[in-house]
Amino acid sequence: MTLLLDLALVAWLLALALHIARVRDDRNAIVAFIGFGLLLGLGWTRLASLDVALTEAAIGGGVTGVLLLRAEAHLRPGKASGASVSHGGKTLAAIACAMVAAGLALAVLAFPSPAPTLAPAAATALPSTGLGNPVTAVLLAYRALDTLLEKVVLILALIGVWSLAPDHLWGGAPSLRPDVVPEPLAYLAQTLPPFGVLIAVYMFWVGADAPGGTFQGGTVLAAMWLLVMLARLRPAPETRRRSVRLVLIGGPTLFLAIGFLGFAMAGGFLAYPESIAKPLIVGIEAALTLSIAATLGLLVAGPAQTAPGR
């Protein structure tokens, strides 16, 4: 029964992917992609990975969807005039891609059994972090350097996006400009955020011990903020504002500072003293949640479109 369900899910995912590949209209493809993202979230629950499922649904489907839809609306006036790939070229590419997929499938089928795993190692080390969720432990303790660098990646992407503003607008505010704010959106924007914030805080809070965590919480927060900005309840902030920048870097800075403190307190970079490991990690997560929310929201908002006020 579950196998049938899985098969149906996989078939649906592939059908949507093929639809995205073949459909002529970009908007149609993006809507399909959003559906694909939500379905994929479902798929991740079938892989017993609720953390990823939440992340995928929130970022993969949700925020990416908003980003792409806005881009599509922006680009709609000038439709693709690019030279399409010839039929022969497409066939060749299809063969090559099928080859890659086949090789990959072979490799997936050839995975050794029993599967190598770090689950026992993660479990053994878990008590010394004081956490209950092993994924959070991996992200913020075992492989904290990955996470720290990834935060820098996020910030860098934002710097890159901001740098695309024309010189005279740099430092100004981005604008999320739907010409008319649809009634339901305004309504949602007024009612949803309190709940959203609550959900976000909850997600982040349980993340230490149960599925959920900074990314998921941060994404929900970002979504609420975007909703508010889209409904024009609050304008997007000027990117040069120090408060904005401080929120952006707050999480990574705290993370890095505690990392360096590790030299003094725990004998190494990004090491936590066992007794206060959990409070430290939860503190970092709290700051990161805010920073992620701000970064994601501003990434969707895009480069500045109004000149900074004097």
Partner: protein, 115 residues
Amino acid sequence: MTAAWLGPATLFGLCGAALVGIGLFVVITHPGLLRRIVGFNLLGAGIFLVFGAVARRGAGAGFEGDPVPQAMVITGIVVAFSATALAVALLQRLFDLTGRETLEAQPEHLPRSEP
């Protein structure tokens, strides 16, 4: 045997392989840049599913999956989103400047006109 063989891990792993193929095809052949960006996301989703299969196979020690690849997927998704955001911003800027949303047929070889 078949049930174990076609457990969700393998099934979604194979699904990931197929998604990689489809995503790659979109990325290579589609002239529209926005669709290409969607293609990248499909490709990424496929890769993450392969990670997911690996994680699911690694269940043990009371966990339903190996947390290390799961954490990698979360990191990967965030990085992929950053990439999408940067690409979209570049694309919109290119469109604002030129009115095009493709890269082909660009006269890069010609000497550029002086500002």
